[in-house]
Amino acid sequence: MIRWLPVFLLLAAPALADEPVLKPGPGQDVVQASCAVCHTLNYIRMNSVFLTPDAWKAEVTKMRTAYGAPIDDDNASTIIKYLSETYAAAPKS
């Protein structure tokens, strides 16, 4: 229902202004700018700490391929690295 898009953006504005703050780390700015376009950053904190780096990579890939997030390869690598270093469980041996 694309005709409502401008309304959505208006509604989203206050939420974006009050977005939860993620843990500091390299790539935090890219994560916040990319992920918060469509959903709250709470989604990252809620899904912690149990996803392995590979599982976070799969999530980022799903966001790009299934959900059509306009994230290029460089930013995707940055996001995966940040999530793996900041919100991930140890890789399964």
Binding site: L11, P14, A15, V49, F50, Y87
Partner: protein, 403 residues
């Protein structure tokens, strides 16, 4: 202060997203939930709602606190809220709502308003609306997604015309196999697939499936699907399209991410009576019928219990066979005793249950409940793990101390 006023002026739903005071925490959350989920969960009230457990505010994902399930009807103000996509039309936009019924396997296309829905025969059904992902947060190992505890569900009395009577306004051709559903909510970005679902024609035309315009005798709350939502008793809430604007008869299977990739369970893992012939494949099936389940709503937390005894209360439900009995255990499932069932509100509804311990020795107890339905199915002892964390009906294990 200035910023707060600005946010209030815009009606921002995210006002409380900053610091979390202890008073804003739910009275009880399962210790099985991920650590990050327990830190994140906050009590917060959406417009028209009482305080629910907020897991996320954009899109809104709020669950009903467990103590609500002491009652078999969930009040609208306590009913959970779940959206995939953050493009949710405000109430003002929904005032000009209309519903298109047609499709390539329909004789014609019609546009209906609320008056048209009200002019058809009205039926009422008490039915459990349960998110497919309810209890995902209890999955072991944990899986990605919205980490729901016990409260992504509710039971309400829904009222409106049968879906089959709505479909009759357009007329089904003989080649119709599915009914496609779409709602007014949508994605933030045009590249994200719109949330669409489908039903096999046999379920869509079943007597119990309605297009509800009221919930517990009131208009639907905005975030529960105002002004009309599809109600599919026995099936998980993913089919209960909110703000439904389009119902189409189709001669071919819907090609949608939300059906083909998401909302699927391993084939043959969970019992179903009604297959989904156009969407089942060898390895996976769409999640459809709910599993038999129960929840103890009280006691769950740090309640003070004495040797005078206490009452165990909760609700049970299944996929439409109806609840035959509920049993409770005080020793973690070694022995079971029958609970007293509450009023029968219909085979798709919550069935309340209660058990009075009478005088009881001081000591440590482990409370559990399990429901048995009229098909003889009961809850599983060990989780049937599946990648999306669906259909978790392992009995609770609630430690309590009697002193």
């Amino acid at each position: 202060m200035k910023r707060r006023q600005m946010l209030t002026g815009l009606g921002g739903a995210a006002l409380a997203a900053g610091s979390v005071r202890a008073a804003d925490k739910p009275s009880w959350m399962s210790p099985q939930l991920p650590e990050g989920t327990r830190e994140e969960a906050t009590l917060a009230a959406l417009p028209g709602k009482q305080k629910l457990i907020r897991l996320a505010d954009r899109p809104p994902n709020y669950e009903t606190p467990i103590e609500s399930f002491r009652a078999a009807i969930t009040p609208n103000e306590q009913f959970f809220v779940r959206y995939h996509l953050a493009g949710i039309p405000p109430m003002e936009k929904l005032g000009s709502w209309s519903l298109t019924v047609g499709g390539e396997a329909a004789e014609k296309q019609v546009t209906l308003g609320l008056d048209d829905l009200h002019s058809l025969e009205q039926v009422e059904v008490a039915a459990v609306c349960q998110c497919s992902g309810n209890r995902r947060g209890l999955s072991s190992p944990h899986v990605a997604g919205v980490e729901w505890g016990y409260g992504a569900m509710g039971n309400a009395v829904w009222r409106g015309p049968r879906l089959k009577d709505v479909l009759a306004r357009a007329g089904a051709k003989s080649n119709a196999v599915e009914v496609w559903l779409n709602g007014a909510d949508g994605p933030v970005l045009p590249t994200t697939p719109d949330f669409m679902k489908c039903l096999p024609l046999a379920k869509a035309t079943a007597d119990e499936v309605i297009v509800a315009t009221t919930m517990n005798g009131e208009k639907l709350p905005h975030l529960n699907g105002y002004p009309a939502r599809v109600v599919v008793p026995g099936w998980t809430a993913t089919y209960w399209m909110k703000h439904v604007t389009s119902i189409q008869l189709s001669a071919k299977p819907l090609e949608s991410f939300w059906v083909k990739a998401a909302y699927r369970v391993p084939a043959n893992m969970f019992p179903v009576d009604q297959p989904f012939p156009t969407q089942d494949n060898q390895n996976t099936w769409p999640i459809t019928e709910m599993v038999v389940n129960s929840v103890i709503a009280d006691p769950v937390g740090d309640t003070r219990l004495t040797t005078a005894g206490f009452t165990i209360e909760g609700v049970a439900w299944d996929r439409g066979h109806g609840i035959k009995r509920v049993e409770v255990s005080l020793d973690g499932g070694k022995s079971w005793k029958p609970a007293t069932l509450g009023k029968d509100l219909g085979r798709f509804a919550f069935r309340g249950f209660s058990f009075q311990t009478g005088r009881i020795d001081a000591g440590e107890y482990m409370l559990s409940s399990r429901a048995i339905n009229n098909a003889g199915e009961t809850q599983v002892d060990k989780l049937k793990f599946n990648p999306a964390g669906y259909h978790n009906n392992v009995p609770q294990q609630i430690p309590v101390t009697v002193a």
